[in-house]
């Protein structure tokens, strides 16, 4: 027998607080599709994706209806294309990306991730071909996402790759200039990329992963915000200890939902369940925002002094609640602060309350990093590389994942709006520090891996 409170609180989370499962991501290894012949490779990849993904959307919808919890996005992640297609030329990489886009459309998923490379220590011809293919590949496809790992705590930072990515990001923007550079919204540069992320644009299936696996991304910033607001109404002297407890308990609930649904989808598809990634991932909808949580905790907006502390507490409490709720937690697991995808963060950046420098500081305590930030289209490649290098350094030294997904909007400057639409939202272009990093970036080479003792 359920109690009134159990029923009413669940119904409230669902109807008024945007409780959902953000993504069920089907990981498919492509290692057994490898061939020197592109057509053979392409045929095998299409056949394998079609075989496993044919009923993904249907199963997710059925399980969602059974529990009354929508599975918002159904996605696919595949093995890094630069590895499985190591012998291909840049032109073939473009065709591989187009083939994956068709496979994604056929399966009815909204994104497919894994058109990526792992180059933290050096680059193979396959890695270089894939990175060179990015502008055309991302401009001629709709649903494929790319992640390039250029740094890790064990290998250091590949500054040659950082320099190259600065230039490629500008080229990808230029190739999609008619759509405000949207190609860059599908491209992320990482440090310490996890092998099992279900969230885009970073999703890919790592080389230590099973052949086919279901990973789940749970979200729920709206649920956390409402829980904090309720606690403020009911507690007379609410302290941050209470707030952290509220966030932790809420993260537990949200993760339990994700795990239940992920395991059932995996069971129906007769596939192993991989991980639940418990990340607070916002959408542009009001009430589904990470930025609003900062206001609930008493800041005028995200970006105000105190924001890094709030984010540190939020991120940590989310992890604590989540790890108890699920036996397999993985992926990114924390709070995301993607500017264009969160109406409250976007408004703070727009008003000047949240600057690039504060965003960078905040990324030292949260998952991911400089995410979905529109910058002027005339930003030099070496400046973008400088931003990437700084973010990679934060990840490398702190043994955490960090990433950069910036969009230099072609032909637009500070204060103008870039519109990406849908989940990607829209953003006013914010200024980037105009200092010159070119001589530093042009040095190239590698920043050595950091010492793992004497931590201070």
């Amino acid at each position: 027998m359920l109690t009134e409170r159990e029923v009413l609180s669940t119904i409230n989370m669902l109807r008024n607080e945007h409780l959902d499962v953000r993504t069920v991501t089907l990981g498919i290894s492509l290692f057994d599709c490898v061939s020197h012949d592109f057509d053979v490779f392409s045929y095998k990849v299409r056949a394998k994706i079609a075989k496993y993904a044919a009923h993904l959307v249907e199963h997710c919808n059925e399980v969602g209806a059974r529990y009354g919890i929508p599975v918002v996005n159904k996605r696919i992640s595949v093995s890094p294309m630069a590895v499985v297609g190591a012998g291909f030329s840049a032109d073939q990489m473009v065709r591989a990306c187009q083939m994956l886009d068709e496979a994604a459309k056929e399966a009815g998923v909204d994104f497919l991730g894994g058109f990526g490379a792992l180059v933290e220590k050096g680059m193979t011809p396959g890695d270089r071909a894939l990175i060179n293919a990015l502008p055309e590949a991302l401009a001629t496809t709709d649903r494929v996402c790319s992640s390039i790992n250029v740094a890790s705590s064990k290998a250091g930072i590949n500054m040659d790759a950082v320099a190259l990515m600065g230039r490629q990001i500008l080229k990808v923007a230029d190739a999609t200039k008619d759509r405000d550079g949207i190609g860059c919204a599908k491209l992320v540069v990482f440090a310490n990329i996890p092998q099992d992320v279900p969230f885009m644009a970073g999703a890919y299936l790592g080389i230590g992963e099973p052949d086919v696996v279901i990973n789940v991304g749970v979200s729920g910033p709206g649920v956390v915000k409402k829980a904090i607001d309720r606690a403020k109404e009911t507690h007379e002297s609410l302290t941050l200890s209470d707030v952290a407890e509220v966030i932790k308990s809420t993260a537990y609930k949200v993760t339990r939902v994700g795990e239940l649904i992920g395991k059932e989808v995996a069971g129906r598809m007769n596939l192993p369940f991989g991980v639940a990634d418990l990340s607070l991932a916002p959408t542009p909808a009001v009430g589904d925002s990470v930025g609003e949580i900062f206001q609930s905790v008493g800041l005028s907006s995200i970006g105000a002094p105190g924001s890094t502390a709030v984010l540190a507490m939020l991120n940590d409490a989310v992890k604590k609640g989540g790890v108890f709720a699920s036996s397999h937690v993985g992926g990114l697991s924390g709070a995301f602060i993607p500017v264009s995808e969160d109406s409250s963060i976007e408004a703070a950046a727009n008003s000047g309350a949240l600057t690039m420098e504060k965003l960078e500081a905040m990324t030292s305590v949260c998952s991911v990093g400089l995410d979905m930030i529109a910058i002027p289209g005339d930003t030099p490649a070496t400046t973008i590389s400088g931003l990437i290098a700084d973010e990679m350094a934060i990840g490398m030294i702190n043994t955490k994942t960090t990433a950069v997904r910036v969009i230099p909007v072609p032909g637009k400057g500070v204060g103008e709006t870039a519109i990406f639409g849908g989940l990607l939202g829209q953003a006013k272009i914010i200024p980037v520090n105009t200092g010159d990093a070119s001589a530093f970036i042009n040095l190239g080479g590698r920043i050595p891996a950091p010492i793992h003792s004497l931590k201070n």
Binding site: S9, T10, I11, Y67, V257, L260
Partner: protein, 187 residues
């Protein structure tokens, strides 16, 4: 031994359960299972007791009623033979929770339970909760045993159409979701 089922209903006060159980024990009856609840100050209970062969339902009804009257407690007692051939669904079922909410109207419960009756879905627990006296807002929570043979989508659509026709919202969810969210798993 006879098995007898007793129900007691009426105004709640401290000592009700003692008045009933002491009368039963004087008759050498053993309480095997019981359930009680209180709704807006009204006490309601079901006792299943095993009684010696020579004790009848009428005896039990009389002694329990006398025990309550002696303490000036205003409750009604009914007793009857416990039938073992009770309803049980022949096929396997799954626990679902149907939540209906909106402004209170006389026919809501009849309308929703009518769908369940027609489909042979047993209601295992039902609560009507008044959210706010001023707005007349109410929530009904039906815990039902849904036979596996019932088409989930058709059942969902039928309930949604009924609810929508009188301006109510309805959710139909597997019970596991409520337990997953609010309870630490039992190991």
């Amino acid at each position: 031994m006879n098995h007898i089922v007793i129900s007691v209903i009426g105004r709640d006060c401290p000592g009700v359960v003692y008045a009933i159980s002491s009368a039963l024990s004087k008759e050498k009856c053993n309480i095997e299972e019981l359930s009680q609840t209180i709704l807006k100050g009204q006490f309601a209970s079901i006792f299943i007791v095993s009684a010696p062969e020579d004790v009848t339902e009428e005896d039990i009804q009389r002694v329990v009623s006398l025990s309550l009257e002696a303490r000036h407690m205003d409750l009604t007692v009914a007793a009857r033979t416990f039938e073992t051939d009770t309803f049980s669904c022949a096929e396997e079922t799954e626990p679902f929770v149907v939540t209906v909410n909106g402004s209170d109207q006389p026919e809501i419960i009849a309308m929703i339970s009518g769908v369940f009756a027609e489909q042979k879905v047993n209601i295992e627990n039902l609560k009507a909760i008044r959210m706010d006296e001023a707005s007349n807002e109410c929530v009904l929570v039906f815990e039902v045993a849904l036979p596996l043979s019932i088409n989930r989508n058709a059942f969902r659509q039928m309930l949604q159409a009924k609810a929508r026709s009188v301006g109510l919202s309805i959710s139909i969810q597997h019970q596991n979701i409520f337990e997953a969210i609010h309870r630490v798993p039992i190991v």
